[in-house]
């Protein structure tokens, strides 16, 4: 029996060290890729600059609003509309990162809930004590609410005519300014570092949060910005009421920005346009090169489709429903790669409950 037990120990060590020879086929990158470096890059070159850009855009929106209030000029109203559009697009660059400081303020919901409740906006503007932090007001605040006020028919004249409405816009913009500042300064100070160092597999680690929010954001883009409006959840009957941008009519432009933000994160493309460590590099390190090319192709196809469509989904549901449907199918096919192939390769945990893996 002593022989047996020594054999047991021996096997342990043999299996621990002898296999070393077996797998010399894979090059160093399998070993060298570090999640920490990727997260640091993501934090410093993608998320933080994204938030800085959003902050700048929001400040510009705020000053355009001030200018318009002071002169009521057509030119300044046009500028205000432009600034709104720019800011919304910047917001869709950072909407993915709904964890840490963003989830603390409920960034995604506070700034981007649609469809906006127009009746509630009018009612709220008549109430000087309205509490915009209440959950019930989520569909009367943020960029969609501003869109309604800035882009509906006769928007300018109705806005100039109503002091109440102007005061409401003041509140909406102030809320956005505060929230963006809060999130930005949190990322800039401590959270960015915390995030980059949090490379574990537990569901609360920075990396897991990033992957989970990535998948969530992608599906949200697919469903809320495209699927629901074109009738994917309603027997194929388009649901015009659920269109994201019915007044400024840039629904598909927003969708494109959203998809590009997701693509850039995957490729590790910084706000400066320079590509560095991203999910693709991690997958390559795991020898999943064909998966990387499938995902890249998927993103390119989606982008091409979006380039061929106009910005307004409302017009396209009438003119080119077939193309919207094809776009949706492409987005759906990419989910398979992102949510199953990629997520499984990373080995992150979706839930935080104990599990013995079966």
């Amino acid at each position: 029996m002593r022989i047996l037990s020594s054999l047991f120990i021996l096997v342990f060590f043999i299996s621990a060290f002898s296999c070393k020879k077996k797998d010399k086929t894979n090059p160093e990158d399998t070993v060298n890729f570090q999640k920490r470096e990727m997260l640091t890059h993501t934090s410093n070159q993608i998320i933080l600059p994204g938030l800085t850009n959003l902050q700048t855009a929001v400040d510009e929106l705020n000053s355009s609003w001030g200018l318009f209030k002071s002169n009521n000029a057509d030119a300044s109203f046009l500028q205000l509309q432009e600034k709104w559009e720019k800011t919304v697009l910047k917001f869709h660059r950072v909407k993915i990162y709904e964890f840490g400081p963003s989830s603390a303020v409920g960034f995604r919901a506070a700034l981007g809930t649609f469809p906006t409740d127009t009746a509630k906006i009018i009612a709220n503007s008549g109430n000087s004590n309205v509490n915009l932090a209440l959950l019930v007001n989520l569909d009367a605040i943020g960029f969609p609410a501003l869109e309604y006020i800035f882009f509906r028919q006769n928007a300018k004249s109705q806005l100039t005519a109503s002091n109440e409405l102007q005061a409401y816009v003041d509140k909406l913009i102030l809320k956005i300014v505060n929230e963006v500042n809060t999130v930005h300064s949190a990322w800039n100070s401590s959270y960015g570092t915390t995030f980059s160092a949090s490379t574990g597999t537990e569901s609360t680690s920075g990396f897991s949060l990033l992957i989970n929010e990535y998948n969530k954001e992608y599906e949200l883009a697919k469903n809320a910005k495209l699927g629901i409006p074109i009738g994917k959840q309603s027997l194929g009957i388009p649901q015009i009421r659920y269109v994201e941008s019915p007044y400024a009519k840039i629904s598909l432009l927003i969708l494109k920005e959203n998809v590009l933000a997701l693509r850039d994160l995957f490729q590790g493309k910084g706000a400066n346009g320079i590509e560095n460590l991203g999910f693709d590099d991690y997958l390559n390190a795991l020898e999943k090169t064909s998966l990387v090319s499938s995902i890249n192709t998927g993103f390119t196809d989606i982008e091409n489709d979006l380039n061929n469509l106009s910005d307004d989904i409302l017009i396209e549901t009438q003119n080119r429903p077939g193309q919207l449907d094809a776009l949706y199918t492409k987005m759906q096919n990419l989910v398979v790669h992102l949510k199953t192939d990629m997520t499984s390769a990373f080995g992150v945990l979706i839930t935080y409950q104990d599990n013995d893996g079966d």
Partner: protein
């Protein structure tokens, strides 16, 4: 020839130590479950529960009444630990624990099944006949020796876990691809110092082979007097390591503690004697400990139990096709940490009248964990499809300003699954009406074939 003598006796000490450890761990487990808020999350929040075949009648209590079984678990596990109204405690613990486990297979863990089985066995054993409140208060006669198969049956139960887990690892993915361990270990690549090891293939191979050999043979080394100490060292190392690397909660500690049952009666005697003197129990006078007649029934019952325990993990042999893909006969078989699946299941309600389709957002009805589990497991996919059928059967939908009445929809799903790091494969074709598929234990020939 008689295989095992009924009259063989052994010290009761191993059984008593086992009772103490099991009671303490069960108490800790139940408390942890409560403190983490899992009762609400797993048994109050969900709209739908995935019952086990044949046990779908087991339903959760309404709202906060779901805390009741957990409180019962706390009380009864304390009863087991203290040996206080022991048999009632063991019965209550077994029933409340098993009840909770039967509610939703989403939360199925091999080790929960193990706890249920051990609790069941403990009901029938006189583990309170020494160093217990029952003996102290003279509710039970003190016994110093017991039929030795009382201990053997517990050893068998532990052996089952290890040996079947080891046999399950004898597959090409585990041994020759080092999957799923490579995927799981490489995710620790940033860990200081060890990270470099975990990102390499050969580490995963070493872990896979060691794990397999460990599971297959550890019991035999534990049974042997001369190898016991060394092998127990491996038990500790193995379970601490898995506990450190994977989110498996209390189970490493359960296994570390309960494998002590393989130690000699003298070892356990020393522990019990020490405890008895600490707690000022009176020294035991040896009594005549004849085996009582009723244990003969118990003896045959345990043989039946053992046979069942061997048959259940082998039942997968009755099914054709790939076990990991089809998961027919997968549960209750000690297939622990054996594969990594990730799925995407998109469901569609098809209305035959308008020929229109409704794509389902699973998170409307399922928790994240339920969705994750359902997406890869065919039986849960059928259960969910039946749930959706019920939801949409004869319903009126308001779309825009028009009302649509959906009378008799069919339920379809596009299901893609990644198994052990291979590219995603289609598991269920959208053309199949899942509402027509019966939920039973028959082979599901309509699943797409697995292509390795």
């Amino acid at each position: 020839m008689q295989l095992y003598s009924l009259s063989k006796k052994t010290s009761i000490a191993p059984l008593v130590v086992f009772r103490l450890l099991f009671g303490a761990l069960a108490f800790y487990g139940a408390a942890r479950f409560l403190i983490k808020g899992w009762v609400d999350e797993l048994y109050i929040q969900p709209e739908l529960y995935f019952g086990f075949y044949g046990f779908e009648w087991v339903k959760p209590f309404a709202e906060n009444w779901m805390y009741l079984p957990f409180i019962l678990m706390l009380i009864s596990s304390a009863g087991i630990l203290l040996g206080w109204f022991y048999r009632i405690s063991a019965t209550v613990f077994f029933l409340s624990f098993t009840y909770v486990e039967l509610l939703d297979k989403t939360n199925y863990l091999n080790h929960y099944y193990f706890v249920s089985l051990v609790a069941f066995i403990l009901i029938w054993l006189p583990a309170n006949a020494r160093f217990s409140l029952d003996t102290r208060f003279k509710r039970t006669t003190i016994r110093k020796v017991i039929p030795s198969y009382y201990v053997k049956i517990l050893q068998f139960q532990l052996a089952c876990v290890y040996v079947f887990a080891g046999i399950a690892k004898l597959n090409s993915d585990w041994l020759f691809q080092a999957e799923p361990l490579f995927t799981w270990l490489q995710s620790h690549r940033d860990m200081p110092f060890f990270g470099v090891l975990f990102s390499q293939k050969w580490t995963a191979f070493a872990f896979s082979w060691f794990g397999c050999i460990y599971d297959l043979f550890i019991v035999f080394f534990l049974l042997n007097n001369r190898t016991r100490l060394v092998s127990y060292f491996f038990v500790i190392v193995f379970h601490l390591m898995t506990g450190w690397l994977f989110p498996i909660g209390v189970f490493p500690y359960v296994m570390i503690c309960l494998t002590l049952i393989f130690f000699s009666p003298e070892f356990h005697e020393r522990i019990i004697n020490r405890l008895e003197s600490w707690f000022r129990f009176q020294p035991i006078e040896v009594k005549n400990d004849a085996v009582i007649r009723s244990t003969r029934n118990l003896y045959f019952a345990s043989i039946v139990f053992i046979i069942i325990q061997i048959i259940i993990p082998m039942r997968y042999l009755a099914y054709p096709g790939n076990l990991f893909w089809n998961e027919e006969g997968f549960r209750f078989s000690w297939r622990v940490m054996l594969m990594h699946k990730e799925g995407l299941a998109t469901f569609y309600i098809h209305d035959p009248k308008t020929k229109g389709e409704i794509e389902i957002v699973n998170s409307t009805y399922l928790t994240k964990r339920q969705e994750e589990q359902m997406s890869t497991q065919p039986d849960m996919i059928i259960q969910y499809a039946h749930f959706l059928k019920m939801k949409f059967q004869d319903t009126t939908l308001q779309i825009g300003t028009t009302k649509y009445r959906v009378l008799n929809p069919s339920i379809h799903a596009d299901v893609f699954v990644v198994l052990n790091g291979r590219p995603a494969q289609k598991m269920i074709d959208k053309s199949i009406d899942l509402s027509e598929k019966k939920y039973n234990l028959q082979h599901r020939a309509w699943l797409e074939k697995y292509k390795p």
